[in-house]
Symmetry: C2
Subunit: 389 residues, 2 copies
């Protein structure tokens, strides 16, 4: 159970500390800070939420810290356009919506929700000075995005330095035993650890998890980049988006957003990358809509996909090995879509080949042939396969 809780973890401060506390038999307070400006949860958020579910199943208390107060400070992420500051009311509404959504992953009723305006809103200037006196400028500027901006002479407003302190003080106010977060939060989580020490508490353990890469295979999954799979999206949309996950990151999706054992995920990906996508789609639909939703989603997906495929098309009979498998490049050549394996390789590299409307990227892929699958080149060449073992 501890292994499931730590699955995919990037850094643990300290690993011995975390394991000892998990084994201590004490009911731990485990904190996750939630950004109140982004209430629509997607798979990226579930990376940590699924770990929290494992910890909740171990009997620990999960505390969602809604930064309704810090949300008003704005965005210290270093992006050029500053995020609009939220009103207290907006952040409170977003917090409620957040709570409702996490209920899809863990037991929201057994979790605790806290709003940091409760203690931060009660602090006056003298309290802020006292808090700020616990930390030095140099240490604050060690934060990755601050270091970068400072070196590049891009302005850092003074109030942004207060943000990690406020966030760290939340751990003091909560008396957190463990705080979890994305790797982009490492610095802030460690500030909490140090402030707790300054305030005479046992410093919290810190666990960071990876940021899930979005459907573009490049940037962190986020709604604003439209590279996300939302947990509230319809099953057929999930299906369609799952089929579009770049091959290179499908492994991360399996490990970070499902409980499918590593070995099974590995086999799926190794054997048939298309089938692996399909299996992943089934898994997330099961998680967020129930197993019963799979069939409809699959059919709807196929109907949508086949909308792009002409009714009458060339057919090809392909000889496979006894398991029904064939190498991708051979398949392309035998269908008549290329005259050589070299040309087939270039087509794949140029993202010009699709199977059942999904781009295939790996030139070394093995395809499990089934009667009726459609292989296409560009927008106009389609070949329907008939198998011959």
């Amino acid at each position: 159970m501890i292994e499931l809780a730590l699955r995919g973890a990037v850094q643990i401060f300290s690993e011995d500390g975390v394991r000892d506390r998990f084994k201590s038999g004490k009911r731990l307070r485990i904190k996750l800070g939630a950004d109140p400006s982004k209430p629509d949860l997607h798979l990226g958020h579930t990376v940590i939420l699924r770990r929290l579910k494992a910890m909740q199943d171990m009997g620990h208390e999960i505390v969602f810290l809604i930064g309704d107060f810090t949300g008003m400070i704005g965005d210290p992420s270093g992006k050029s356009k500053t995020r609009p500051k939220l009103t207290l009311e907006e952040t409170r509404q977003n917090g409620e919506s957040y709570l409702q959504q996490v209920g899809k992953i863990l037991d929201a009723e057994r979790a605790t929700i806290e709003y940091n305006s409760k203690w931060l809103g009660a602090m006056n200037f003298a309290d802020v000075i006292n808090l700020a006196s616990k930390y030095t400028v140099a240490r604050t500027l060690e934060r990755d995005d601050f270091t970068k901006r400072f070196k590049e002479n891009r302005p850092i407003s003074l109030h942004e330095l207060l943000y990690p302190l406020a966030q760290g003080y939340d751990s003091v106010a909560l008396g957190a035993d463990i705080e979890v977060g994305g790797t982009d939060q490492t610095f802030n989580l460690l500030v909490g650890r140090e402030l707790q020490r300054d305030y005479g508490q046992v410093p919290q353990e810190v666990i960071t998890y990876p940021l899930l890469v979005g459907l573009d295979g490049k940037d962190k999954m986020s709604k604003s980049l439209d590279n996300y799979i939302g947990i509230d999206e319809p099953a057929h949309t999930m299906y369609e988006k799952a089929m579009k996950i770049p091959d290179s990151v499908l492994w991360d999706y399996f490990i970070l957003t499902t409980d499918i054992p590593e070995e099974k995920a590995q086999n799926l990906i190794k054997t048939d990358i298309i089938a692996a996508h399909r299996a992943y789609a089934h898994e997330i639909i099961t998680l967020y809509h129930g197993e019963a939703a799979i069939r409809d989603a699959e059919e709807r997906y196929k109907a949508v996909a086949s909308g792009f495929i002409p009714d009458i098309m060339q057919e090809a009979e392909i000889a496979t090995d006894e398991d029904g498998n064939i190498g991708l490049l051979n398949l392309i050549r035998l269908c008549g879509l290329s005259t050589s394996n070299a040309e087939a390789r270039r087509l794949v590299a140029g993202r010009g080949i699709k199977i059942d409307n999904v781009v295939v990227e790996d030139v070394n892929a093995t395809i499990c042939c089934k009667d009726g699958i459609v292989i296409s080149k560009g927008k106009n060449r389609f070949v329907k396969i008939r198998c011959k073992v």
Copy 2:
């Protein structure tokens, strides 16, 4: 009158702005921030207070801003040992004492006293964030002592960055037209100027004045270094300390702490440095104890000084020019305290020669001889002079 107000000023932001406002006929609010942890005023403090008196005489309102709130933040001056934080009560008492003392220089009844706890104490965390958002880290670190400490990796606590902001906000709260301060406050005064602009006010003009060097001729006058002349000290103590002012800085004392015209001060120092010290002593005793106190102070000083001089001593008859003057080195040699001018020069350089118990430093000094003056070498050689024109 404007010239008297600006006498000795180091920097003016902007000079045109200051002169225009002085000429505008409007009654200006002129702010001086007072450090509430050092209530004992000495001549160093009077440098600016005398300028404020000139401004008050022009009809303007002088506002003493007692930093009773910022006094609780501690000392951001970069000294290794942090100054103990004051309680609100202590700062309030010190403020009252300050007011009483400035009454010796200007009309305290016509001046305004403000305590910044009035507005800073009413600010909450959100207000502090709003204030802090107006300023960037880079600009704050431009302050001389911050730059130095940051480069040398000496810790700067985050709360220290809030100090200039709080001080600058005082100008906003007061709606100051002009702020005056020592050259060590230049950065803070300019922050006030910028914050006023951010808050939609006409930015204050800023005038900085020099820091008076103490009796050691080296460091800024301060009580803790015991190199000060306090404005509350007895007249004979003032007399004694005035005679000890290093020759090299006596000019500054004349210009910065008296209204004696420059030309007169220059003549005094040029003609007879001892007599110039005496004239300076007379001037400050007149300012802080009244002219009537001079005679007693002088006699007491002489009695004290003569305690170190034996009753029976060698006498020397010295030939001077027709004005009674003689070069210092010649005097030393003719008295028999040296065998050559070169040796005399070394003695003066080593601070071994005194006239009437005052060290003479300038080897090129011209001494105005009078019967009965005593010239001494070290602690044991004394010669009483008889003059012969």
